[in-house]
Symmetry: C2
Subunit: 136 residues, 2 copies
């Protein structure tokens, strides 16, 4: 998999993905950026949410669970000292829908964390997953 | 650091970063997505390029190197088997400018990789960095 990025000004970069999509990243004013786009560490955190969220959505679809909504909430704890890596990340899946089977949700989350989520497996951080099922 | 994502349809997710920026992620048609946005693993790869690129840009600015352009090229090798994590990532910095000091570039890349880049430090993958200096 390939990607390339082009520096624009300040701290802003345009990233081009292999599938042909562009994204912006920027730093905050305190670091010399313009806050025009997410920080790279935020992109990393969101990539984990997208990856595991897609797993859970597609597994629950196969299990014929009728979701009315699915949200992923993430909280990352970072080291105090440089390079300030993520030490621990909590991922919470909030599933809404009618007659959602709790076992199906638990299994979908487990499969994503243990087997499918490539972003999670690429991280050097403790990842803790949980879920919440809410009525429609 | 917090983030949240909302599932839309297919495999598309909208991510919201703590600094207030939204990004889209999507899967490809082969997986049930619509290819409307980068894959999560592409986001991860680009986050590494953005993080290390911002370090290199800002260190070279402090060292008063006049860049006319800076690009970051990334290539990630993934495991064949699920969860298909990144095994190895090559990051190449392509610096253009007048009278660019090679030692300054080498040092900027080294500082990013060893000390500053929080995305790199959060990854469980071998990361190899290189650079190329081209005339303006």
């Amino acid at each position: 998999m390939r990607a390339r990025l082009r520096f624009t000004e300040g701290l802003q970069f345009v990233g081009f993905s292999e599938t042909g999509h562009a994204v912006l990243m920027d730093g905050g004013p305190e670091a010399g950026g313009e806050d025009s786009a997410p920080r790279p560490m935020e992109m990393l955190l969101m990539s984990l949410g997208g990856c595991s969220g897609m797993d859970v959505a597609s597994i629950l679809r196969k299990k014929r669970q009728a979701l009315s909504s699915l949200e992923v909430n993430l909280r990352g704890e970072r080291a105090q000292e440089h390079p300030r890596r993520f030490l621990k990340i909590e991922v919470e899946f909030v599933v809404r829908g009618k007659d959602i089977n709790e076992e199906a949700v638990a299994r979908a989350v487990e499969l994503s964390m243990k087997r499918y989520c490539a972003v999670k497996a690429s991280l050097n951080a403790e990842v803790k997953a949980s879920y919440k099922i809410l009525p429609e």
